[in-house]
Symmetry: C2
Subunit: 340 residues, 2 copies
DNA sequence: TTGAAAGCGCTAACAA
DNA sequence: TTGTTAGCGCTTTCAA
């Protein structure tokens, strides 16, 4: 009763009086193997409790069937839905996902890339850390032809595909909407402008102002970490402005909500005195009063598209790779910005 | 310039005119190797761009340094923080995390366990699906001595450690608090009672009633999926009750918040006419008006403890394993339940 | 302190 | 259609 010892293809071969190579073929959908031989092999394998040894198989095939995911933080609703989408697709198509958080640190991002490299991932999906400066740390992967997909916070890199939404257009839409609602002094709460997502939204904000003939005033742009704390501080800054603004476009919902709470506590009426639009369509946006207008960010879809694009590239290396994939966003208008 | 070909220990051995075995030893902290030989090896490895082949090394050592995580869904704040905690610890201690979602389905859970098994994980952390009936599907792991940690939604299994909070006590605390605030007809919104987390909370709810001399009325227990939808339906059921309740203890914040919104829309004043306590301390609990009293669930800590307990067991198999680890919860009283 | 050599379990080229 | 054989790159006895 060697129930403890692992069953190998050799055991099956001996049992059936055939060669290990035939067993190996029978276990796959190898062409050129007799049907009933294959049946016998599969049956014996099942009966004997055979489990294929991935280590040996990986060693030969030089593939791990594992995809790495590097993200800044896994503590937001948005990121959780992205990962959920990735996992769903990866699972369906026979890949495993290994995940690493950079805690928004460039240094940790470099370490994560190296760990992933050593784990022999077949491909990588990355959303950049807050302060990632260059992309040299990805070179060792690219040199080994390991494909990389950037999503959300991207950096154009030749040969890599990026999955994004049109952040500039979204910023434009949000700001344009505020203007249409009669706002003329609109604050923008922005994140780190060296990240595309935030600089593009700022760009859209500016363009919407220009289009409406409103001069851009740098004093109305507040830069912070987009955290709850950041939103509260932004409210204080807004209250301290000599000329009171009448609208806010925040680059995420967390800070928009915190900001609204503070403003309400100071007696400002939303949206009458201050109309607000956030970004992401987090669950909190439907809970705050008044409900927050926001830009729907298709996180789940982004995860699915990123994973399926990557896996297609892995399974069909010849397939032509796209440079950038833009997903559809949507402005969701709720009570926090309706003045007309 | 074979910069494309991978460098192996044989290449290093040839370069230094020593044997591959010595190189292998030099690369580890193997005892009985001369200091400067080791130095030479490490230097050559660095210079030649050596990367250890995990596949080969796994094949020999029969370990993958990978831990599996199986969860119902990765779309809640709570679960995201748990995973974040796990990843942090795993990363620090040199393990990778591979994640799989069951989508709350028992069938998918079985499939996930099998996939994980085939991926040769060294250990597993699991929170059970909504309808998981038995634990037979874990047997193949246990037979191979692969340790399993259950967390949050657990099932006692001999030989496995569970990480939980005292859900009974938490349910008691929440209900007791409502009673102290003058509530006497308290509704409990519960999840699937075959999951420990929900049945224990119900148990605590009952005990608090009994302790206060209030008879338990099954008609006041609403069972649902604890989703937003569920919370809204619960509100309708509450409004339809012949004798209007004056308090609600919900097993999560999502449904508590949805329920409050509905009740408010129907003109019920919170907390005066209906005091509410939720569970989890999700971000929405601080946004809803009035702010939701809730039970703080230490998700991040739970993830850290689960991972470090598992890794300790992996690194020191002899270490004595605990059966159950109970983390501290905390009732957080906010405006939604203060009537005195 | 180092080297020789066997083998982990699988795959694939080549032969039959 | 099946078998033979030679590794993939590493670790680990055993011997020197």
């Amino acid at each position: 009763m060697p129930s403890d010892k692992e069953i190998t293809i050799y055991d099956i071969a001996k049992e059936l009086n055939i060669s290990p190579a035939t067993v190996s073929r029978g276990l796959k959908d190898h062409p050129g193997i007799r049907k009933d031989t294959k049946r016998k092999i599969l049956e014996a394998a099942r009966k004997m409790g055979y489990q294929q040894n991935t280590f040996a198989s990986n060693l030969r095939s030089k593939r791990s069937n594992t995809i790495g995911v590097i993200i800044p933080r896994l503590n937001s609703y948005f990121m959780a839905t992205v990962i959920a989408g990735m996992e769903k697709v990866a699972n369906q198509r026979g890949y495993n996902l290994i995940i690493s958080q950079t805690q928004e640190s460039f240094k940790k991002e470099i370490a994560s890339v190296n760990t992933m490299f050593n784990s022999r991932i077949d491909g990588l999906m990355v959303s950049l850390a807050y302060d990632t400066g260059d992309t040299k740390h990805f070179d060792l992967l690219l040199k080994r032809k390991i494909p990389i997909i950037f999503f959300d916070r991207v950096l154009t890199h030749p040969g890599c595909t990026s999955i994004v939404i049109d952040n500039r257009q979204a910023g434009f839409d949000a700001t344009h909407h505020l203007i249409q609602q009669g706002c003329s002094r609109i604050v923008h709460i922005a994140g780190n402008l060296s990240r595309n997502v935030y600089s593009d939204r700022l760009e859209g904000y500016k363009q919407a102002l220009v289009a409406a003939g409103i001069p851009f005033d740098p004093a109305l742009v507040i830069n912070n970490s987009l955290s709850e704390q950041g939103g509260m501080e932004a409210a204080q800054q807004i209250l301290a402005m000599p000329l009171r603004p009448d609208g806010i476009f925040s680059s995420n919902d967390t800070s928009a909500v915190a900001c609204i709470s503070q403003l309400k506590a100071s007696g400002i009426r939303i949206p009458q005195e201050m109309a607000v639009v956030g970004f992401n369509n987090d669950p909190i946006s439907k809970v705050i009063e008044p409900n927050l207008s926001t830009v729907h960010y298709p996180g789940h879809e982004m995860g699915e598209v990123a994973a399926s694009t990557l896996i297609t590239k892995l399974d069909q290396p010849a397939a032509h790779a796209l440079n950038t994939i833009v997903l559809r966003h949507e402005l969701i208008v709720r009570a926090s910005s309706i003045r007309k």
